[in-house]
């Protein structure tokens, strides 16, 4: 229970940063997706129904704060969680470098999935060109920040579990 509370606090903090500070420090239009990093963490370490629902909620929170159609980021996050979950069950992705690579690929995957949905369901014109322009930069930024976020999440989870015990 305490671990869930700690994780929720981290999510709220990441959401605050995502909507206040990070847009000010963006490179062009590219900002690192902290919630995506948390979603990948869930996919790697929280192989539970709660983890899956947590990924959905992360996506839904992004939809709530953005101008996109509701469900777009929820779909992206759920997809990322699913694939990371399945990959972690078959491949060893427990060292720092492979986690960074997973975050990078997850960012590309999520953006790609969103672009497909937009192309299929919406007439967004040349939006995809703008998105693709910053796709790799965003993925790189997320990959760079992921070790710090993972370390924070791991630490908070350990503290919470230790206190619970």
């Amino acid at each position: 229970m305490r671990a869930a509370v700690v994780l929720t606090t981290v999510v709220i903090a990441a959401l605050l940063l995502q909507t206040t500070l990070l847009p000010l420090t963006s490179i062009g239009r590219a900002t690192p997706d902290l919630l995506l990093i948390i979603c990948v963490y869930l996919g790697l370490h929280q192989h539970t129904v709660a983890g899956a629902m947590g990924a959905f909620v992360l996506g839904y929170l992004q939809d709530a704060f953005s101008g996109s159609v509701v469900g777009l980021n929820a779909f992206g996050m759920s997809l990322v969680f699913t694939l990371v979950y399945l990959t972690s069950q078959r491949l060893w992705v427990d060292n720092a470098i492979s986690k960074v690579v997973v975050v990078f690929l997850a960012s590309v995957l999520k953006t790609g999935a969103i672009l497909v949905l937009i192309a299929v369901f919406l007439s967004a014109g040349n939006l995809w060109q703008t998105v693709v322009q910053y796709l790799l930069i965003e993925a790189a930024l997320a990959a760079v920040l992921s070790p710090a976020v993972f370390a924070l999440l791991t630490l908070t989870q350990r503290v919470a579990v230790a206190e619970e015990e």
Partner: protein, 279 residues
Amino acid sequence: MLEFVRRNRVGLTSGLLLLISLLLFSAGSRTARRIDPLGGVVLDGMRPLQSITAAVIDAVSGAWQTYVALVGVHQENERLRRRIVELEQEAVRLSEVEQTDKRLEALLNLRSGFDGDLQSAQIIGRDPLPWFSTVIINKGEADGVHKNAAVLSPLGVVGQIMTAGAHSARVLLITDHNSGVDAVVQRSRARGIVEGALDGGCVMKYLKRGEDVEVGDRIVTSGLDGIFPKGIMVGEVTRVMRGNRGLLQVAEVKPAVRLDRIEEVLVARGSVQLKDVLP
């Protein structure tokens, strides 16, 4: 069945949530109205935290920008100060160049007005004692400058070479009490000797009492001393003194040349004459 669901509950849950998100998206994309059942609640819940976070970021950002701006302004200020100093020095240098150019052009014009050989020279030193009027020039015997040679400027007589070394020479100015220039009043042709006075000016002596000399008369060289060419401006009469008795009169003469200001001179090498002698 239940065992299957239990073993794959995570995957099934993920798949279900994917489907739900797709349905939400599909429904939302078909209508202009935003379908967001919990969005309002989430936004209201986060609003206080967002407000506080944004305020803190604004305060820090503002303070940082003020600091950076001030540092930038300070640096810009220093850079502009240095630039001002550089420009002022450049302005002084250019003004000096302009003045030198004018003087040298006058000197060149003077040289072109003479028949004979003239050597230009720069004044590089002045007499440290107040009772003597001499200057040092940067030309000497090696440049054809010899003792007793006439030293001239565009405005008139300067003096004569007192001593000459290999590469420099000392000039006895006409304001020195040891100097003497054979001269005439340009208007009346009254003849006398212009000598230096201790007050930095000159006096014209040995003028006959009956000679016509007035304040304002121009004094020019007579050419009879064999040193200075004829017709070169010496100065202007500022006062005439005739005693109650005696055969002679004395005239105070203000030199035509500002001897304390000149920087370049011409030295006669051998005999020189004006092309157009002053009447």
